[in-house]
Structure formats: C-alpha cells, structure tokens
C-alpha cells in the first residue's frame, strides 16, 4: 500500500499538535541559519491518571473509540455484503470506501465454499465482566501516581492491549476471552517517563510488555497465561514527537511510539519521508518496527529497518543503552543495535530512534506484468535482482492470488473501461495464449525523477519480455497493492462467514524459491484434507521482496471451517505443518514478522544451541528478573 492511499488523521488536532506545527513554521523561517528543526524536547505537561481526553497522535489513549475492539482497523471501515448480496466497503477513509465489488461473492462461493446463508454470530459487544480483573498493588499504583505517569485499569483498554492480530487472537475476541490480560496500561510521554516506569517495575517486580501499534502477528503481545505478577502494558502511543530533522545528514530523531502514517505525513510536510512502508503502516510504530526487524514494501530503495536506523535508545532494567555518536558505520565489535533490533520487547523499551530520511520522490508510477506462469515470473525477478535494477517494489503473485485480486475489482463506472478490460483479457489469453488458470502477475512501483522512472520502467519491462512477460497496465499494479492493505479487513469479513485465514512469510535462496512455493501449497492442501477441512483451502503466495541471493515469500492461507469444531487449533496445526515444510525447503523461520511466541519452538534449531545461548545470556545480563516478561523468542 502506498502512503497516498492511507487515511487522513483520525483525531482532532489538539493543542499540542498545533503548537508543533507553529514551531515547525517558525523553524522554517530559521532554516537558512540552521537546517535543523526545533521541537519540544521535554515531556509535555500531563494530566494525571485519567486517560480520557488526552491525545496527540492519530490514536487516542482509548483506542477503542476509533478502532475495532475485536478486529482490524477503524470502526467505520469494513466489508459487508449489501442488500443486493454484493460486496461493499463502508466508510470514507479509504479510496475504496463506498465501492461495490460485484465479483467477490462469486469468488468466495467458488473458491472457499462460502455462502451468505452461513453466518457466524460473534459477540456483538464486549462484556466487561468477562475480562480478567486487574491485579495491582496499591504501592505500585501509588508510585506511578507519584511519578506522574498516566495509567488506567479500565477493562476495555486492558483487553485492547492483550493481543496482536494473529488469527487465534481475533477469534478469541469474537468468541471467547484471554486467560490473562494486562492489569494496568501506562502511557509514558517521553524517554524519562519510561526510565521511571522501568525503575518502579523493577522495584515492585512487575512484568512489562511494551505495546506499539498492536499489529504484531506472532503472539508477541499476548500475556503469558501463567504470569503471576502484575502485568503492565506500556503503550508508547503518547511518545510520538519528531524531535528534530537534520537535513545536512538526512536524519530525523523521533520518539519510538510514533505511528507510521504520522511519521510519514509529518516528515512529508517538510518534504521528506523515511520510505519505510510496511503494510501495517497505518497502525504500526517506529519502536515496533525496530523491535520486530520490520521490512517495508519499498526496501529496494530505502532499505529495511536495520538499514534505516542510525541510532537507537532503549531503556532496560540495567539502564539505558545507546551509542556515543551517530557515525554511519562502525567497527566496534558486534553492533549493539542488533541486540535491540528484533528483541521483541524482551530486553527493554525502545524510546527514541534516529532514522534516515529522504526527499519525497518527485514521481511515482505503478505497473504490472503478466507472465505465462509462476516459474517464468520468478526467473524474471531473479534476473532483475541479478542486474540490481529492482524498482521500489516488485511483487510476483501466483495464479490464485491473481484471481483473488481480480475478484476484488470494483464495479467500473464506464462501459469503456470494461470494454478495454475485455480487450486486454482477450489479447493476453487468446492472442498470446496465456492460460488464465496458470498465468501470474507482477506488480511494480517505480519512484524517482520522472525521467529516471520512465527509463527504469523500460529496463525492467525489457527484462520481463525476455521471460515472456507482457506489461499489463498501471491499474492492475495499483489494485495489487490495494489488496495488501485491505486484506486484514477481508479477514474479519471472512470470519463472519466461517472463513478463517492468516498470512505467514519466509525468505529463501533463489534456486529454491519455486520449489518452496509449490511444496508449501501442496503441504497445506494435504494437511487440510487430512484434518477434515471440507473445501479446498485458499493457499496462495507471492514473492514480495528480492535480494541479491534470495527472495521473501509471503503466503495467504484461508479455508472454510464449517463442520470443524475447533477451527483455530486445526488452523494452527496446518500453519505449523506449513512452517515445517518451509524449513525443510531451506526457508527461514521468518523474514520480517518475527518469532514472538508463535514460532519460539523452532528458534533454537534455527540459530544453533550456541547462538541460542548467546541470546539467552544477553537477556540474562540485561534483564535478570525478567521484567520484560512477554516470553517472546527464548
């Protein structure tokens, strides 16, 4: 998804933000003198202990006011079948808001055996008394108050932070309840607040789980069911300022709690961007990205998070860890940033990050290429990687995903476009002899100066032609990217009709890519059959990232669970089998989602006993009492 498609700000601009804007304008006047923007660098004034009302970023402290408590995204945005039985997307936040998807119903019926008649009945609203009560000592709460830390014990807010977005988590919200949820939610507003909170937690032996955007898909945010201590969810959302922008070195110093869309929008106001665009950019945070080793869609130009960070500050039970300078590269022993990157909240709280920025590109263009089959497509990507001429983003979808994308074609307004579509289809299938059930599509994003983009485009299309690829227009490209940011909304939608699904990913050397894709899909089909899934599953993949020596492959798996009594367990068994298959095919445990608790069981064998021991000893030194006790990774 491109930032352009992201929604506008959700909350009203409070006083604080207005102040910031003023500051920015002011500093704009000063730019010739110093190209560094100024910003309030201390904590804002605070309102003690009452979460209501205070807000600064896109999301209020009470997130549930604008975000779904039991699903993905904004309350007002979702898929429905309208009265005519057609798919429709509600709300005005997204470009597709109000559009009709006439092909969706057919696709669901044909591919998943779903039906409008078979609807599930999730809990309509949260029953507060279902939420496990908050356990917290008076002394601890008193210390928080003394330190002027904003916190709440409200059930809804605690439940909201008890989970990420794994299938089983959402399923539990709809039809059950977590055994354990955080007892207290705290909202530090700056680095110093975090230092205080961690001190207090150490004093009272309290478990802290850092919470960024809550988009984790690895069970990383889930509370260990057997944790007896008070669990505090440390919500970083109020730490969301850009401290300064350094145009000389093209860096920005930012609070780790800033949400992706805010970061890009605010940088954009000064003509910059980080270019880091994970599909969860609307909700995930800078700190979350660092903590999970996230990867953005346009990493080919901007790099993954580890390439983007210049400096990280983290508060641990041992104290604050950071470097003494911001040199672009150092040979100072193993890079301590790499202990922090991917630490998944078990070592401390990332509070501030200096991140690289780039001028917002002058020109952006989507594109797409149709290949006669997946093998050809992968061969083409491999060649593009070899020639190191990858566009900002290039993704190769297999046939099933292509067809799925097609089912999400909105109703077209003019006869002319549909006629054109027909012609295009005719050209590709009849004239060029592509089999519509085999062909696959690559979607592309080019960025840069107009001239360079056009040149680059030609280069890539020329390579594609060598592998039988035909350019298939900008529209198809753009729709392909749209799919990836509405997919989570679609998942909720499916759950209303007995369809469950999830995604998972891996990275793999080039020469094993095609085999891995094939084998994993076959394994899924086989497992589904064995586990009594009544309809063939929707198992599809795309190559989403490319590197010199390999690629990242992303899978969607969905199926109809009618007739299965314990769908979540069945799903998890199938995903486990799929992961085993990935590993046996030379794929990695994860390319960017991380390990969390979902994939812990494999970490040791993936990094060797010694490697695992190294990680353990770091944890042991930094956090001997397991204050950061989310239980991820190790």
């Amino acid at each position: 998804m491109a930032a352009a498609a992201a929604p506008g700000g959700g909350g009203s601009d409070g006083f604080q933000t207005a102040a910031h804007r003023r500051l920015r304008i002011l500093s704009g006047h000063l730019r010739s003198a110093s190209e560094t923007y100024l910003s309030a660098s201390q904590c804002r004034g605070r309102t003690v202990a009452t979460p209501e009302g205070s807000q600064s970023g896109t999301f209020p402290k009470r997130r549930q006011e604008i975000l779904k408590w039991n699903g993905w995204g904004y309350n007002d945005s979702k898929f429905i079948f309208n009265k005519k039985g057609q798919g429709e997307f509600t709300g005005k936040r997204y470009r597709i808001g109000g559009l009709i998807f006439p092909l969706l119903k057919d696709w669901v019926e044909k591919n998943l055996g779903g039906s409008l008649e078979h609807k599930t009945t999730p809990k309509a609203s949260l029953n507060i008394s279902d939420v496990p009560p908050s356990i917290a000592s008076e002394e601890f709460l008193q210390d928080l108050q003394n330190a002027k830390i904003s916190y709440t014990q409200e059930a809804e807010s605690r439940l909201f932070r008890a989970h990420g977005h794994c299938l089983h988590e959402i399923f539990l919200l709809r039809e059950g309840m977590f055994k354990r949820v955080p007892d207290v939610v705290v909202w530090p507003e700056c680095h110093d607040d975090v230092v205080k909170i961690v001190e207090i937690a150490c004093k009272h032996n309290i478990c802290i789980i850092p919470y960024g955007g809550g988009t984790s898909v690895t069970s990383a945010l889930e509370c260990p069911a057997d944790e007896k201590r008070t669990i505090v969810s440390l919500d970083t959302s109020q730490m969301n300022r850009i401290h300064w922008i350094d145009e000389k070195n093209l860096t920005a110093h930012v609070d780790a709690g800033i949400v992706g869309q805010d970061l890009e929008r605010q940088l954009g106001e000064s003509g910059y961007c980080t270019g880091h665009e994970p599909d969860s950019i609307e909700f995930s945070t800078l700190g979350g990205w660092v903590a999970t080793r996230a990867s953005g869609m346009k990493k080919n130009i901007y790099g993954n998070i580890e390439d983007l960070v210049v400096h990280i500050k983290m508060v641990t039970p041992r104290g604050v860890i950071q470097k003494s300078c911001q040199g672009p590269r150092m040979s100072t022993g193993p890079d301590i940033h790499h202990f922090i990157l991917g630490s998944e909240g078990i070592l401390g709280v990332i509070t501030e990050v200096t991140i690289k920025i780039r001028p917002v590109p002058e020109y952006q263009k989507y594109g797409s290429v149709v290949f006669p089959n997946f093998e050809k497509g992968v061969a083409c990507l491999r060649e593009v990687a070899k020639q190191r001429c990858a566009p900002a983003s290039i993704r190769l979808m297999d046939n099933a995903q292509f067809q799925f994308g097609y089912a999400l074609k909105p109703q077209v307004a003019s006869i002319f476009t549909s006629l054109l579509d027909g012609l295009k289809k005719f050209y590709i299938t009849k004239f060029k002899g592509f089999d519509p059930n085999v062909l696959c599509v690559a979607t592309l994003v080019f960025e840069g100066s107009r001239e360079k983009v056009l040149q680059h485009e030609k280069q890539v299309y020329d390579i594609a032609a060598k592998f039988g690829g035909l350019a298939a227009g900008e529209d198809n490209g753009q729709r392909g990217y749209m799919l990836t940011f509405i997919i989570a909304y679609l998942r909720d939608f499916g759950m209303d009709y007995y369809l469950i699904g999830e995604s998972f990913e891996t990275s793999v050397p080039w020469d094993r890519t095609v085999d891995l894709c094939k084998n994993v899909k076959e394994r899924i089909a086989r497992e589904c059959k064995e586990k009594g899934v009544q309809f063939p599953p929707f198992a599809t993949c795309r190559v989403t990232q490319m590197y010199d020596s390999g690629a990242c492959v992303y899978f969607y798996l969905g199926f109809n669970y009618r007739g299965i009594s314990d769908p979540v367990r069945v799903y998890e068994e199938i995903e486990t089998a799929a992961r085993e298959e990935i590993l046996a095919n030379g794929g990695s445990l994860s390319h960017h989602h991380g390990v969390g608790k979902l994939r812990k069981q494999w970490l040791k064998e993936c990094v060797s006993d010694v490697g695992f021991g190294m990680l353990k000893s770091i944890k042991q030194f930094v956090d001997p009492n397991n204050i950061f006790g989310s239980g991820n990774l190790l």
Partner: protein, 572 residues
Amino acid sequence: MGHGMHMGAIRFFAFTLSKIFKSLFKSVCVNEDGMQKLQQAIQEHPVVLLPSHRSYMDFLLLSYVSYTYDLALPVIAAGIDFLGMKIVGELLRKSGAFFMRRTFGGNKLYWAVFAEYVKSILKNGYAPVEFYLEGTRSRTAKTLSPKFGLLNIVMDPFFKREVFDIYLVPVSISYERVLEEFLYAYELLGVPKPKESTSGLLKARKILNEDFGSIHVYFGQPVSLRTLEAGRMNRYPFNLVPRHVPQKPSEEIQKFVSDVAYKMELLQIENMVLNPWMLISAILLQNLPAIDFELLVEKTLWLKNLTQIFGGFLDWPDNLCASKAVRSALALHSNIASLVNGQVILNNKEMGFVTTEEPIFRRALFILLCGSYRNQLLNIFVRPALVAIALQITHSSRKEEVYNHFSFWRDIFSEEFIFFPGISLKDFEEGCFLLTKCGAIQDTPQQIFVTEKGSTVIAFLNAMFKPFVEGYQIICRYLSNETNEAFTEKHFVFGVRSLASQLLETGSTHCYEVLSSDMQKNALAALVRLGMVARMKTTDGFTYRVNKESLNKTAGMFESRIPVRKAVAARL
C-alpha cells in the same frame, strides 16, 4: 548412457514383445487394482517402479505391460551388459531404457552425470523410473539383499525438496517357469555365464517353442516416501549447501535409505504370487531320491494350507483337483522332475552344456534347479522356521533361550534372507505367532511348547532350511580347519567346493546346495560382518583371513546341531 523415446521404436518393440510373450507364456496376469493405483500415482507425483529381478524378461515385461495399459514407458536404469545385445539394446534404448555400468569403480564423473540424469527424469515426472533394488538378477530366485546406490539417487530430489513426494511402487514378478533356470544353476556351480548378446538371446530361439507357463505381475500399493520419512530425519541436512552440489549422505540418511530398501523388498516378497510347483519342489527336495505320487499330492495339499497360514500369496488352480494340479505342474517342469511308475523323481540326465559332467555335479545341478523354486517360499517361511530350528537345537522350552538361538540364526542368515534391520524380537514374535496360528506351538509368556501335531510342522521347517544350516556348518568347518593364511574369494570358493565334493562323495553329507557359489559368498559375507573373518582391501580386490578365536567361539552354536543329524527325513 542415455535414452530417447521414439514412438515408432516403441510400437515395433511392443509388437515384437507381444509376439515373444505370446509364444513363450500362457498368460501374463496383472492385478488391476494395483494398476489403477499406479495410474493414479503417476498423476500425483514422480513414481519409481521397483520390480523384483528374476529374469531378463522382467524389464521387457514391465515395458510391455505399461504399453498395454497406456502408461508412459518406464525409464529403466539397467545393467550395462545389455549394450552387448546390439539390436535389442538399440530397441530398448529407443523405447526408454537407459543403462548404467554394473560398477562405477572410481569413475566419479560417470556416477555424477548418471545421477543427474536419473534425477532430471524423475523431476520432470513424465515417466516412471524403474530399477532393481536387488541390483542384479537373483540366480537363486531368493530375494537378494538390496543395493542402495540408485535408491539414494532417486530419493535425493525428495530430500532436497525438489519434488514434494515420490511414490515407490514395489512390483513382484513371478514366473511359473523362469527362462534362465538352467543357466542360473550352471552359473551357481561355477560354469561361467555367457555374455549377454543378441545372438545368445536368439540361440534361445528353441526356447521359443517351449512352454514357460504364466507370469504374475503384482503392482503393490504405491508407498509415499514423504510418509515414510515423516519426522524421521533432521530437517535441514541440505540447507547449507547448494542443492546441485553432491553431498555424501549422512549416517542418518543412509540408515533411512537402507530401511526403505528393506521395506520395499519385504513388500515385494509379500506380494509375490506363489504357485503349486514351488510347494512340490520344497517337498521333493525333502524326499529324495523319489516320492510316491499320491503321497506328494497329499503333502502338497498340506503345505498349501501351511503356506496360506503363513501369509503366502498362493495362486492355486481352484478348478482342478489336487492331483491334476500337481500333474500339470510336473508337466510344465518335466525338464526337472518326472513321474515314473507312480514315483516322482528328480531328473538326472546329461544336459551336455559342459563337457565334463560328473555325477555329483549333475545331481547338484538338478537340486539347485529345484531349489530355485523352493527358494521362493523361504522368505515367507523363514521366521517360523528359525523358531523351529531354535526349538530343535535347544531342546528347550525356555523362551529366552529359544530367542537367543533364533537371534543367532537370524543374524547369520541376514545375507541369505531378507530381514528388516534391527527388529529381531519382532521377527521372533511373528515367527511364534505364525507357529501358534498353525497349531504347532503353544506360546506362553515364559515358555514355548511344541504341540503334539506340531512336531510335523517343526520337523518340516527344519528340513526345509537344513541345506542352509548344514551348508553354513560345512563352510565354517572348512574355514576353521583348512586355512591359516590370507585367502581370496576365489580360493575360498574353490576350497569349499572341493571339501564339499569330498563329503558328498563319501556320503557324509547330502548337502549339495553348499556347492552353490551364492551360498558360499553369502556365508563369507556373513562371517565378515560378524567379525569371524577379516576382510582386507588390496590393490586388486580383497583378501580374507580367518579370526580363529571368534570363529571357534561361535562354532559351538553351529556344532550343537551336527550330531543331531537325523538319518531319515522327518515323516510328515
């Protein structure tokens, strides 16, 4: 090496084949359900056909059957000696066969190219790959211990996940009469085998006028390699080296490949169709020089029952009365046995194949010939039989003691018969179970008793395996008495042969089968494996040296049997 499929050649080949098959054999029976499963399997994953190997006919036959059922012709990895047969060789190649050298020696390049070739055919999945686990034709009609080289190659693409799965299909081919029966017997007795050549096959033209009965081709249930492997191996042995770089298989993989090989051979054995003549042979060999026809019929019926209890897959002509069935089997095999004045005797006439045919040689020839049919029963009988032998030797009913002896013999005979590695106790239990099932023993947790009527079964089984027990004893005797220094296999074979000839001439043994080079080599291999003989590599092959100490230690187990030599074959 290499093959190219030409439809024209295939059609011509099929035409010729069907002519040959029709003139040689009465019928070729194929299990339809197996064929259907095979057809299904070919749609799903690459298929490897693993036929038993008793005759050159085997691969012609499978190609012919495949053609008849409209299957892609299997691509055959067969011994290089076919290349000698010019016309047939070319035809074979055109119809899909490819060839490998019997041994690659040190030629790594050849092996690497060959391996790549086989794998690419497999991965393409257009046609099944076919090869013989046994490596070569079994001259004795007993299943040979598996070879692992080719199996390693075909399993590799699965290990490396170049394919999702591979189906292994055991194919059991059984001939009522094997084309090469006499050739094999000669070969076993040390008459060198003629080089395969087209003219050789054509000389066999006169064979074309003979009747070789029927052939049964049984396609076993396709076995999914993935299912066999599930959870057995370290997941990532191949992740750190590019897949095209050959790697020496780890011990774990070697063990797995070996287990699969044994499993497939045991499946071949299980599915092998048996016929009345095999029963007759087994009885005849226990009743030399002659047996009354009526008695033979009676005993054959008795053995039929026992065979079925033991799980033998018997093709019995139900429409015929027993005596007719025996008569027709005798008619088909009139070159081996004859009915003279109500007595069935083993033939003893000169064959004129070699100039000097001493009486002992001639006798041995027919015994081995007959033995090659009896042998096809042995793998079904071996577990209960070893229990029977242990019972007889120990004269004990203590289970533990019986088991120890069972284990000993099972170990000794691991080259001779097919046992799944490392499951001695399970085999023992199966043996006991089958003996209980046929009422021969009573099996209690601590003890085993032979029932009253059971002694007949026990005696029969002992007699059935006596040639092996006795043969091995003679071989051990030879080794412990006659050799002090390093010797070659050739020397050993010669030595055993002359000792055995002596013993046979003086009538102190009737164990003609010890003259078989197959038994001699198996025994030597067993003794090497058990450390009683040391094997040393030299520039031109191997030399051996007896480890007297450990041989003598074990001799006790062997010898305990010799004085028990009952003069008369047990009456049934």
